[in-house]
């Protein structure tokens, strides 16, 4: 054997999850699109559990900046480096990481076309592309407007998050921070309210005469009573939440004037505007014809294959799996089910029984954490998802400082654990 041949053998083996194994004939190719909570979890779990899979991950960003804990960056409680994760751990395990945009899926030919021109073939596809902002759904809010009034709802390269942070820092004491919050469904249901809390936490210490005006397109929200209890206790008089019924739905923005305009024509002048617009599945899901009229992808609730394209398992915030929230924990949990199903189907076996978990913490204050827990299973007919009766639920209400303090700590511990699970 020549040196050259030996090197090419090693190169071929580098894409395998068991790097010591030479590539076998007919090895199954698992292609993962998107390196966020769903995709990174899928690639990591696939390599660890099914060493016979050839796993490739396509992700345009060189590193993942997580949306979870982004609200703490916006509040100055974390540095962005602390929520940034590289893909070297996955590479070391044998995942081939391709830094490029996936443009389109051909589910018949089983190929994904990349912006760089390559077409990657697959035997099973895990599609975890995240969300798209529906620019234009709010009059006056296009991509350019997000450079003045950030959405900070897709982390990307971190620019949106850091822009909102800088605007809060530059705002004079006594200013008004306005938020526009969308109707359901959207990414991270408690996220806007954790953001309100963390902005209030910053303002209370640095700009205590300032106000937060939260304009909401719905009448109730996740962990509502717990959030509102916390706001009353920690930030009295600072936060005004306006529900849909109180004319809370923002229909128009004027970024030059700094105005959020609601359905019945009230124009709210704000000093910092954070517009969280309506969302849909990311563009590639729409381009591939996987989305339904709602803009999200309907999936088989056991295998997570798109109804429109068997062999394409859609996980994370892009799908619309009944009552399951669009959370990082659900993306991680369903990623494993989707990969286990893909592996089983590749071997001609039945997909495993599904059980999906959600544990979602929110920070209300530095020592004030709250949570919601859900355990879900596919419904008996396989078309829906049901929550296990008498399980889960939110943190208890009441004056419970020790519970709140412990849960704030558990939130930090959760973040370390789940990101370790994703990138090992």
């Amino acid at each position: 054997m020549t040196t050259l041949r030996r090197r090419s053998l090693l190169t071929a083996g580098a894409a395998l999850c068991a790097p010591a194994l030479p590539r076998a004939q007919g090895q199954a190719r698992l292609l993962v699109i998107g390196g966020g909570f769903g995709g990174a979890s899928a690639a990591s779990f696939a390599c660890r559990s099914y060493p016979w899979l050839d796993v490739t991950l396509v992700e345009p960003q060189p590193r993942l900046i997580t949306c979870p804990y982004g609200n703490l960056v916006i509040a100055g409680e974390r540095r962005i480096e602390e929520i940034t994760h590289g893909y070297d751990g996955l590479r070391a395990r044998g995942v081939r990481v391709v830094q490029d945009w996936a443009e389109d899926v051909d589910p018949v030919a089983r190929r994904v076309r990349l912006r760089g021109g390559d077409a990657l073939p697959y035997d099973r596809l895990i599609l975890s592309p995240g969300i798209a902002i529906r620019f234009g759904a709010i009059d006056g809010y296009d991509e350019a407007a997000s450079g003045t009034m950030p959405h900070a709802w897709i982390a990307g390269d971190g620019a949106q998050m850091l822009l909102l942070r800088r605007q809060l820092e530059a705002m004079p004491d006594g200013g008004v921070v306005g938020l526009a919050i969308p109707a359901n469904p959207f990414r991270c249901p408690p996220g806007p309210y954790e953001r309100i809390s963390m902005i209030a936490h910053y303002l209370k210490r640095h700009k205590p005469r300032s106000k937060i005006l939260a304009l909401d397109a719905k009448d109730s929200f996740s962990k509502q009573a717990l959030f509102q209890d916390g706001w009353t206790a920690l930030y009295p008089g600072m936060i005004e939440w306006v529900p849909l019924a109180g004319d809370g739905r923002v229909v128009r923005v004027d970024v030059r004037e700094g105005v959020l305009e609601t359905e019945f024509g009230t124009r709210h002048r704000v000093d910092v505007g954070n517009v969280i617009p309506p969302q849909s599945a990311a563009r590639i899901a729409t381009a591939a014809g996987l989305t339904d009229r709602t803009g999200w992808v309907t999936v088989d609730t056991r295998t997570f294959e798109a109804r429109a394209a068997p062999g394409v398992h859609v996980i994370g915030d892009a799908n619309i799996p009944g009552p399951m929230p669009k959370s990082g924990f659900v993306a991680n949990s369903t990623a494993k089910q989707a990969v286990a199903s893909a592996a089983a189907l590749l071997r001609g076996e039945a997909a495993p029984e599904g059980v999906y978990f959600n544990t979602c913490y929110s920070h209300v204050g530095a020592e004030f954490g709250i949570s919601v827990v859900n355990i879900f299973r596919p419904s008996a007919d396989g078309t829906g998802i049901v929550e296990v009766p008498n399980s889960g639920g939110v943190s208890p209400r009441g004056n419970l400082p020790e519970q709140r303090r412990l849960e704030a700590g558990h939130a930090d511990d959760w973040y370390r654990s789940i990101t370790a699970d994703m990138f090992r």
Binding site: M1, P51, S333, F357, S395, G409, W414, R416, I418
Partner: protein, 102 residues
């Protein structure tokens, strides 16, 4: 490269292959029911900060704790809410897995 060296190299690869499949370095993946635990308890259930380790703990100890959480008979922040979502079979699979991890 001589014939003898090539043979040695190829047998070396076979040996590595055997190690990769059968060797002790590869820990068994957690059953799917236990995967939910890892989101907070961390890889292999090793724990994280104030969240306790499950790795290597006695099966009956873990099963007893889960039963107490389900019955609201053990102080908890969230485990009481979580434990009620599992079936007996899932708890048995999960505690069996964690008992065997390090």
């Amino acid at each position: 490269m001589s014939q003898r060296h090539r043979l040695a190299l190829e047998w070396g690869i076979v040996g590595l292959t055997f190690l990769a499949i059968a060797g002790p370095a590869r820990s068994q993946p957690a059953p799917l029911a236990a995967q939910g635990c890892l989101g907070c308890h961390g890889p292999n259930g090793a724990g994280s900060g104030g969240i306790p380790s499950l790795a290597g703990r006695d099966q009956s100890e873990l099963a007893t704790a889960m039963a107490a959480f389900r019955a609201n008979e053990r102080p908890a922040t969230i485990m009481n809410r979580i434990a009620r979502g599992y079936t007996e079979a899932e708890i048995a699979a999960a505690v069996g897995y964690f008992a065997g991890t390090r």
